[in-house]
Amino acid sequence: MELAIANVSKKYSSKKYGLNDYSIRVSSGILGLLGPNGAGKSTLIKIISSISKPTTGTVLLNGNDIVKSPNYIRRMLGYLPQDFGVYPNLNAFEFLSYIAAMKGVGGKGLQERIEKLLMELNLIEVANKQLGTYSGGMIQRIGIAQALLNDPKIIIFDEPTVGLDPEERLRFRDLISDLASERIIILSSHIVADIESIADEVAIMKDGVLLAKDSQEDITELAAGKVYETTVNKSNIQNFKEYHTVVSSYRFQDCFRVRYISETPFMDSEPVTETLEDAYIYLTRN
């Protein structure tokens, strides 16, 4: 499996680009997509999932142009949108059967697969209730179930852990790792920890442009020797934040313990081991 995006631009108006000359190659495995709001993650996901067409550029999946032939990817796509709804008058079985029909999936095994999916996602007991009565977390799990209905070869999860409780979040990470063999999984999230624990590769975007794409270790390495911690007085904290790239800060007695990124450290600072989050902040803020 290989997805090749070459020189893709999406122009919304004469001055506004969703994506600007964006190129990336994705092979089997998990790609974590990180970027601040407005970075173009959703635009990219919509183009890959054939919902939107690029203004220029090509998107090839295994050598097939999916802009020209979107049904090629649709047959093997599992997509969990960030913001989605369900038909409230259908129950879980009916809704998943309906989505299966939309995906062009049927046959004898379908009903059994739906049952197994509902069982694995802990929804089997409420499967006969109408979806209008489901809580947010249950709807999110229905979303995950529909994405896996057709045994997809390319899976796109946009903010998949929203609404899941901590235990379900951990299980979901295991599920993604389980899926990754021989499949392309694109995982977009604002939560760096979600991506840090499972992604084989990480792509960091900003303003419609790809800033970096590499293995987690190599991306993290970009911030090496630039991450420090120091203690700052309460009265100086605002001033400090204005002049330094602060990753995090927490109250420590009457002062603040601050983790920041800098080429030249502030006096009394201690160097600390860099993380993916540090690298993400370093790349997107500089």
Binding site: R74, N89, S97, A100, G106, G109, I124
Partner: protein, 513 residues
């Protein structure tokens, strides 16, 4: 006071900046210009026997104000209806519910902004009226006062009543759209009948009875022996050049003005009283119980284990699962009481005289589905399922088509008792016309839904259709009740084809953008 005005401004701008408002304005201009037909037109809107008025300020203003009162109130109800529901759907209601705004302030701000939108449309009609005076009545000068007074006294109070009514119904019967429509339909028709036939002003919510009587009196004085029966609506037949009367200034009585004020006050008081019942977005919802521990034999997995998903489903491009799921959704969306009424009417249409079943019961039965059919192609927006549809396998050829087929299937099923009766009579042509009617009405909903991405235009049009169908207006007969010619059948076929290909092309364009 300033926050209150800001809320009104926000609501108003949110609406007028929408794409659907642009379409509404376009239609409003077209309809406004057709309210006073040209001398060559094949219809009239207000007629007294064979008589019509000459194009002076008084006549044009009265015709437009009366027609606006009757028609804009209908359109206005459907446009303004659902403004609270929208706050529920967009979940803005949850934010509003936690703010300091009182129920009455919220509802009155909605009332004011909705009224402003309708006034904007009324202004368009007003300006169109002046334009028509310059077009057709260039021998007369513009008398601004003659123009303004009928609009202020006839149309404005009606819009106030309708705006308040739309909100009151939404507050008292939240989420029961079909019931709200049913109540409005009864009130609208009874007010229209009251205004036309009853002699008491109290029945005349539209405020057309007194001006109607005044015009009739003027014509009767000039032609005492002629038929001067008053008719209002889009009436087929050319204007008779020999029977054109110049209508002079009409003085509205103090009783009439008082009556209009009382109607507005009642509407506002009702709105105020409804604030007591306002749910403040705390609507009871049935919540499914959280799954308890699974039965022993099912609980072998810790959950989220993909190794248990060993079955891989086959590829299938069949349409039938999609169509049947769409049919289930259409049926489930219909409230049970409405399903009950529909089945009773279907059963009754087996026994009532055939013309009654065809002319009255069939359009009524179809109209009962208005809330369901209007949503056929717009439900992806309202339920936020657009991404599922757009990324599905051949969405245009499969999902879009299956929705149309499901709608047509239901429409034909509803007409089944009538169809069986025509089968018994071997009337194949009428059977074809009825089936084409089913196809046409569904495709009309699909076209309007695709074009505007909203269900309102179809709902308004369908309301106009049912009203004129029941009044046996020939031009709006789409199900072969008043026509039985081959030319008519071909026309319906062509219209349906145009609607289908327009909707298909538009949808294709949207998917490809």
């Amino acid at each position: 006071m300033l926050p209150f005005i800001k809320i009104i401004q926000g609501n108003y701008l949110q609406y007028v900046r929408s794409y659907s408002f642009l379409i509404t304005v376009g239609i409003c201009v077209y309809v406004a210009l057709s309210l006073v037909p040209s001398p060559e037109a094949n219809y009239t809107t207000i007629r007294l026997g064979e008589f019509t008025g000459d194009y002076n300020s008084t006549w044009i203003a009265l015709v437009m104000a009366m027609m606006a009162s009757v028609l804009l109130s209908l359109v206005g109800f459907f446009l303004m209806h659902g403004s609270i529901q929208k706050d529920i759907e967009t979940r803005i209601g949850h934010i509003i519910g936690t703010t300091q705004i009182s129920n009455s302030s919220y509802l009155f701000s909605k009332f004011c902004s909705n009224l402003l939108i309708l006034f904007t449309m009324l202004c368009i009609v007003f300006v169109a009226g002046i334009a028509l005076l310059f077009m057709f009545g260039n021998q007369y000068s513009l008398q601004l006062w003659e123009f303004v007074i009928p609009f202020v006294l006839i149309a404005v109070p009606t819009l106030v009543i309708v705006t308040a009514l739309a909100l009151v119904l939404e507050v008292v019967f939240p989420r029961k759209r079909n019931l709200q429509y049913g109540i409005f339909l009864v009130l609208y028709i009874s007010s229209l009948v009251g205004a036309t036939f009853e002699k008491k002003e109290i029945h005349d919510a539209f405020g057309i009875h007194e001006p109607m009587t005044a015009i009739t009196t003027q014509v009767q004085q000039q032609f005492p022996n002629e038929d001067t029966a008053f008719t209002i609506g889009f009436i087929s037949g050319k204007r008779n050049a020999d029977k054109v009367v110049t209508i002079q200034h009409i003085a509205f009585s103090a009783d009439y003005i008082w009556n209009r004020v009382v109607f507005m006050l009642i509407a506002i008081v009702c709105l105020f009283l409804s604030t007591i019942y306002f749910h403040r977005f705390n609507i009871k919802e049935k919540i499914a119980p959280l799954p308890t521990s699974a039965p022993a034999e099912q609980n072998k997995s810790a959950g989220f284990q993909l190794s248990n998903l060993s079955i891989t489903p086959e590829f299938s491009s069949q349409l039938s699962p999609l169509v049947s799921a769409e049919i289930i959704m259409l049926i489930r969306k219909t409230p049970k009481w409405l399903l009950g009424i529909s089945f009773c009417l279907m059963f009754a249409s087996i026994f009532v005289p055939l013309p009654v079943a065809h002319h009255y019961m069939l359009p009524l039965l179809w109209f009962l589905q208005v809330g369901v059919w209007s949503d056929l192609v717009t439900k992806d927006t309202s339920f936020r399922t657009y991404y599922f549809t757009a990324s599905s396998y051949k969405p245009l050829q499969r999902v879009f088509i299956s929705r149309i087929l499901a709608g047509i299937g239901i429409a034909i099923f509803i007409a089944l008792p009538l169809l069986v009766r025509y089968i018994v009579e071997f009337d194949v042509h009428t059977i074809i016309n009825i089936m084409l009617g089913a196809v046409f009405i569904i495709l009309l909903s699909v076209f309007f839904g695709t074009l505007t991405r909203s269900k309102k235009l179809f709902e308004i049009t369908f309301f106009f259709l049912i009203y004129s169908n029941i009044n046996l207006v020939k031009i709006t007969d789409y199900f072969g009740a008043l026509h039985n010619s081959i030319a008519y059948t071909i026309l319906m076929l062509v219209l349906s084809t145009i609607l289908f290909f327009s909707s298909y092309s538009l949808k294709k364009l949207r998917y490809e953008s």
